[in-house]
């Protein structure tokens, strides 16, 4: 899943080398927290959160056959 998130996000941003993903597992959900360069946060969220929503849509599609929910959070 981390690789998918990397494949989606890193071509969109200016500082891919500063991006890290932290995974937190809870009982019914996996949470992926993206740490980004402050200049890149807006790019990954987009107007009205449209880009973030598109990223989540694809991550959810990739997760279709698993029972756990997947969350993607964006942080500085």
């Amino acid at each position: 899943m981390e690789e998918l998130i990397l494949a989606i996000v890193s071509p969109l941003i200016d500082h891919p080398e500063e991006m890290t993903i932290e995974k937190r597992e809870e009982e019914h959900k996996d949470i992926y927290r993206l740490f980004l360069h402050s200049d890149d946060i807006g790019k990954v969220i987009g107007k009205q959160g449209r880009v973030a929503k598109a990223i989540r849509t694809i991550v959810t599609a990739a997760n279709a056959d698993h029972s756990k929910k997947v969350y993607v959070e964006i942080a500085e």
Partner: protein, 207 residues
């Protein structure tokens, strides 16, 4: 190969050899002259070859197809991409096995991929490119479905004499529905609510 460093007796010579190695033309590269070179005295002493570093400029279509393929590969799908370019409009059509995974429920995955790929293609393009992503003719089939739905719901509005509210659709799909009923003189259509839950209302025209 994206970048080479070459030497030659002159900058021009080094450049030509680089272009040959990259199999490209001068318009499609960025050039750094590393060393102008020196002819030297009588061509003997203090001679230094010219040296250039030549990098292929990123091509928006190449970058965006690679982007799309890398995401698809992570989803376990390896589609063929057919590229159509007309003016500032670029259209990719995906085909192959397990394409449904890239379309998703009501095309939501396809729409998400379209949106993200549009960002990538425009990152590498100097002019704005309008990008459409299609898969196995999904867009056309979807349009037919929407037109059929529009006609059916217009009929329902007329029979019941009451406005019919549709489910929320993205703006380009609402456009298809509005257009399908634009010529129908018995009903009028408008949208209500806020994105992304904006929906169409079909209302019988009172005489």
């Amino acid at each position: 190969m994206k970048e080479v460093t070459t030497v030659g007796q002159t900058v021009e010579e080094a450049l030509q050899s680089a272009l040959q190695q990259l199999d490209t033309t001068e318009e499609q590269v960025e050039i750094d002259v590393l060393d102008e070179g020196k002819k030297g005295l009588f061509g003997l002493f203090g001679q230094r070859p010219a040296s250039v570093r030549v990098r292929k400029k990123a091509d928006p279509i190449e970058e965006s197809t690679a982007y799309l393929l890398s995401i698809a590969a992570q989803l376990g799908v390896h589609p063929d991409i057919q590229v159509e370019k007309t003016g500032k409009h670029v259209r990719f059509s995906l085909s192959g096995e397990r394409i449904a995974l890239l379309i998703g429920k009501r095309g939501q995955t396809l729409n998400a991929l379209e949106q993200l790929t549009q960002l990538v293609i425009n990152r590498y393009s100097t002019n704005f490119i309008h990008f459409t992503l299609d898969a196995e003719n999904y867009r056309e089939r979807r349009e037919e479905t929407l037109v059929a739905l529009a006609r059916k719901m217009a009929k329902k509005a007329l029979v019941t004499g009451k406005p019919v509210r549709l489910e929320p659709f993205p703006s380009f799909e609402r456009k298809v529905i509005h257009k399908a009923l634009a010529e129908n003189r018995q009903v009028r259509t408008f949208s209500e609510g806020k994105e992304p839950r904006r929906y169409i209302v079909i209302e019988p025209k009172s005489v």
